[in-house]
């Protein structure tokens, strides 16, 4: 056994201390085996965060490996800081979504703000200029006493950070459900643009090359953040407020500009942001990725507070920091850039051939860990799981028809689930950079690739009530819905990032939800040729033993080669004809209609026929790209009638719809959530040809009405002015927030 470094001989590593660090007996035994001796306190801290669920993916790895991750346009899939895809002309889109759930519940403003900051760094550390922020938010029931406070704080935090750094927040989704009462979900996504020959990776190389620390100073904030994100909540979790980091978007903006300036030179060997587990994970990932050692002198780390210990420095999650390996002799040149931007720049160590992470502090070695086994031999669990039995089918006639269709539509569109989100997105600068060509409120957000005809379409989606009722179908649907939303604006869906939010994986039924959702996602990704290129897993979203609805949030990205072909959901002129693409069976199981009208969530979710999704979507996209379509909207939550109402609102135009449902009862026709459907608004002279082409391709397409007037008319059962619809649609959220 080699000699234990001297510095920590005064701290005895007891069983209780090991347990406090969240390491199981087996994990600690593995740690002893890797070191060949008892760890120092600093080393124990490093093992603890590296092997936390948050950093090691120990419960999820086995299943994540089964997801499709390749396609000819994928440049870098999972394993890098973010996924990278080819969009032609030597350009690449770099994107990822990540959770910041636990901190956001404890301190909503800072939790959400630092979630945005963290995901921005994951993207620009690879050489991209961030061009769009998105998010996926889940809150508890509106009646829950904390919901207003959390909604208000999270939205303000997302805006506060994104607005200041000057990256537009172009869209997202927001759900309310009691399963999130004690565990809200804040998933932030960023999309960046880079040149393919200027993509930066984290694998370090070059023995003797300097290791540079840049950005904010290190403080005591966020120590054990990754560990907190790997445990369930209890009543006293709010006492963990000190483990929530504080964001500084001003420094982030400077860091973006300084890093991009440095990246335009040839000085960088490798670069990595300091995210969860800060200096620890960044240095271990860089060293192990390159198969080299790192020797760091912690005395050189810029510190915000006095008397910080090596343990605190290695576990701090202070924000806005990066680690860079430079080519030798370029330090002064690089420092000049960071000086210009008033950012700290410190040489804190060098690359060695030892393969170890060796930390010295005040002249003594305080940690000396082989990085390869620390990173690669981390525990991997095959947790027991029980298949979630899909709920039985529920027939439409088992769900009561409304007494009044008009009131039913108003109840739906004025509910927290479907009301206008303008109160939220008006607090986000969604136009800065001046390339936002589809604003929040559409099917997908669209931003132009600056200075080109190209544009990127982005959508975040998941229907947790489907995932709860049937994880496999729910997993499929989440992927398919982003694909459909991207298609609906005319873009070609290319790849996804996922943010998998679940309860405690040590419970077999929760693990079963996870495995089921992954299975559904896998099938959808395969059939739609739509691989996963990056992602994040957030487990232990439980409070006092109650888990959230399974929520695999998907962030999809697509490309419009000619942005002028983009359509929105707003019909452009009176007289346009409305076409329904896809089959309507009137599926009301697990529907929003049930939730809103009956307050229950029963039955199986709609089946996702992936072949139909692909066929219908490819057809719709081709028609849009050929210039045949004036407006397009996918049909999702709330069904056909809600989708029509949303189109009428977007255009501020009325529409008259006559649709014969045959055997399908009218309320199921109106509010059923059958998948793979779109509504197209097309110039009258193009309708017949389009229907003919659809039918020739075996796709269900029919004329259901026309645009015009200032009322929405649906068969004989509903006649409603667009203004009344608007008042109700826009009313709920501002009213709700006012009462708070």
């Amino acid at each position: 056994m080699s000699q234990t470094p001297a510095w920590n001989n005064n701290v005895e590593i007891t069983d209780a201390l090991v347990k406090e660090h969240g390491l199981s007996d087996e994990e600690y035994a593995l740690c002893l085996k890797i070191l060949g001796r008892t760890p120092t306190l600093t080393e124990l801290g490093i093992f603890s965060v590296m092997w936390s669920e948050h950093c090691s993916y120990k419960s999820s790895k086995k299943h994540l490996k089964t997801l499709p991750t390749t396609a000819p346009w994928v440049i870098h899939g999972p394993g890098e800081n973010a996924g990278v895809i080819d969009i032609g002309d030597n350009q690449a889109i770099i994107f990822k979504m990540e959770s910041h759930n636990h901190p956001s519940y404890i301190e909503p403003y800072q939790g959400a703000a630092t979630g945005v900051g963290g995901i921005l760094r994951d993207v620009f550390t690879m050489g991209a200029r961030p061009i769009a922020n998105m998010n996926a938010l889940r809150f508890g029931a509106p009646e829950h006493p904390k919901t207003r406070h959390l909604l208000s704080g999270v939205v303000e935090g997302i805006g506060g950070y994104g607005n200041c750094v000057g990256v537009p927040t172009v869209g997202g989704e927001t759900n309310f459900h009691p399963s999130y009462d004690g565990n809200i979900l804040v998933n932030a996504m960023n999309v960046g643009l880079a040149d393919q020959d200027r993509i930066f990776l984290s694998a370090a190389a070059g023995i003797g090359n300097p290791v540079i620390y840049v950005g904010s100073k290190t403080g005591r904030d966020g120590i054990h953040g990754a560990t907190m994100a790997s445990a369930e909540f209890t009543e006293d979790s709010e006492e963990k407020r000190p483990t929530v980091q504080v964001g500084d978007p001003f420094t982030e903006k400077l860091l973006i500009e300084a890093c991009l300036e440095l990246m335009a030179t040839d000085m960088i060997v490798a670069i990595q942001d300091m995210g969860a587990a800060g200096l620890t994970s960044s240095s271990v990932e860089m060293a192990s990725g390159g198969g080299v050692g790192f020797s760091l002198n912690l005395d050189m780390v810029p510190q915000r507070e006095e008397g910080m210990t090596p343990y605190e420095m290695m576990l701090s999650e202070s924000q806005e920091r990066m680690l860079i390996v430079l080519k030798p002799g370029r330090e002064a040149e690089a420092k000049a850039i960071f000086d210009k931007w008033d950012l700290d720049f410190a040489v804190i160590g060098e690359i060695t051939d030892s393969g170890n992470l060796t930390l010295s502090f005040k002249g003594e070695v305080v940690a000396d860990i082989p990085t390869q086994p620390l990173a690669d031999n981390s525990p991997e669990y095959d947790r027991p799981w029980i298949k979630s039995e899909p709920k039985p089918e529920l027939k439409a006639d088992e769900i009561v028809a409304p007494a009044d269709m008009k009131q039913a539509l108003l109840d739906m569109i004025g509910s927290p689930h479907l009301c206008s989100r303008a109160w939220i997105w008006q607090q986000y600068d969604h136009q800065v950079m001046a390339d936002t060509i589809q604003k929040p409120g559409g099917d997908a957000a669209v931003v132009r690739v600056h200075g080109t005809d190209k544009a990127v379409a982005i959508s975040t989606d998941c229907t947790p009530r489907y995932c709860y009722a049937d994880p496999v179908e729910g997993g499929k649907q989440a992927v398919a819905e982003t694909w459909r939303n991207i298609t609906a604006v005319g873009a070609t869906p290319l790849a996804i990032t996922d943010c998998l939010n679940f309860g405690n994986p040590e419970r077999p039924e929760i693990m079963g939800q996870f495995v089921g959702c992954i299975e559904g996602m896998r099938e959808a990704c395969k059939v739609l040729n739509y691989p996963v290129v990056s992602g994040n897993v957030s487990l232990y979203n439980e409070t006092n033993g109650t888990g959230i609805h399974p929520t695999p949030a998907i962030g999809g990205v697509g490309l419009l080669k000619d942005s002028r072909r983009m359509v929105t959901l707003a019909p452009r002129a009176d007289g346009e004809v409305l076409l329904l693409i896809g089959e309507t069976k009137g599926h009301l199981g697990a529907s929003l209609y049930q939730t809103v009208m009956e307050g229950r969530e029963e039955g199986a979710p709609p089946a996702v026929d992936l072949m139909a999704e692909k066929q219908n979507g490819d057809f719709v996209r081709a028609q849009i790209n050929a210039g045949q379509v004036a407006a397009c909207h996918d049909i999702s939550d709330g069904g056909l009638l809600v989708a029509l109402a949303e189109m009428a609102l977007a255009a501020d135009r009325g529409m008259t719809v006559n649709i014969n449902g045959g055997e399908v009862p009218e309320h199921a026709l109106a509010f059923g959530e059958d998948q793979a459907r779109y509504i197209l608004s097309v110039p009258a002279d193009k309708a017949e040809v389009l229907i003919g082409e659809a039918r020739a391709a075996g796709i269900s397409a029919r004329k259901i009405g026309a645009v015009g007037g200032d009322e929405l008319v649906f068969n004989a059962s509903l006649r409603l002015s667009v203004q009344e619809l608007r008042d109700v649609h826009q009313g709920w959220m501002p009213d709700y927030m006012k009462i708070g």
Partner: protein, 229 residues
């Protein structure tokens, strides 16, 4: 028309302003860093939007004391033209080049949406391409756009035709509902007595192409070409 865009740390609409000026005037503006002590000889200096110095102190207060601002003030004192959009407007009031102050929005929330503006005075180098009383659409995106000035200053601004843009409704009425931030008299933009310094909260540089949702911002730049070329 030769122009310069000043960049402060955490300016973030600098690129948008540069893009608009280049596209519309045909000349790429000079980009001037806040610590520079010289500005090239130009017809127009633009202070762009953003969060200079993070807006951690009063918005624009730090930027107003940047080294380059001495040169901006000299340029303005010589009668040179200066525009400040959003954070740039806040910098102009902090330097005293324009009167009044921009306080936190009255609902205390950031607001980003399209608003209607009435062109109250089209006899300026920045508005001559608009019709008198024309109502245009322009996006706002700010947390601190609530224009305030004392009664005497407001009266002078109104009497001298120095309120250039006002928030109005679809009918051109300056209603409370049309005002996104609580500004006095629905003021969205004002001009100096010599009509060479204009500050406004809305962002005309974000609305110069149909794809951006409209082109009502074009007139702002075309006016300058008319007046300054």
């Amino acid at each position: 028309m030769k122009s310069a865009v000043i960049v402060f740390p955490a300016s973030n609409c600098d690129r948008d302003m540069i893009t608009a000026l280049e596209k519309i005037t045909g000349h790429k503006p000079h980009i001037v860093w806040h610590q520079d002590s010289d500005i090239p000889d130009v017809d127009l200096i633009a202070l762009p939007g953003g969060f200079s110095f993070g807006d951690y102190l009063r918005c624009g207060a730090m930027a107003a004391r940047s080294p380059v601002m001495k040169k901006v003030i000299e340029h303005a004192d010589r009668g040179g033209n200066v525009i400040g959009v959003c954070n740039g407007f806040q910098v102009l009031t902090e330097t005293g080049l324009l009167p009044g102050a921009l306080m936190r929005n009255d609902n205390l929330k950031f607001v980003c949406r399209d608003v209607k503006l009435k062109v109250e005075n089209n006899d300026t180098p920045f508005t001559n391409a608009y019709l008198p009383g024309q109502v245009i659409t322009t996006p706002v995106a700010h947390h601190d756009g609530n224009y305030f000035a004392d009664e005497d200053t407001l009266k002078a601004l109104e009497d001298e035709g120095r309120v250039v843009f006002r928030y109005v409704d679809d009918n051109g009425e300056a209603t409370r509902a049309a005002n996104p931030n609580g500004s006095r008299n629905n003021i969205a933009g004002i001009i100096s007595r010599r009509k060479n310094i204009l500050g406004m909260m809305p962002h005309p540089e974000r609305l110069i192409e149909e794809q951006q949702g409209g082109t009502d911002g074009l007139g702002f730049f075309e006016s300058m070409i008319n007046a300054l070329n």
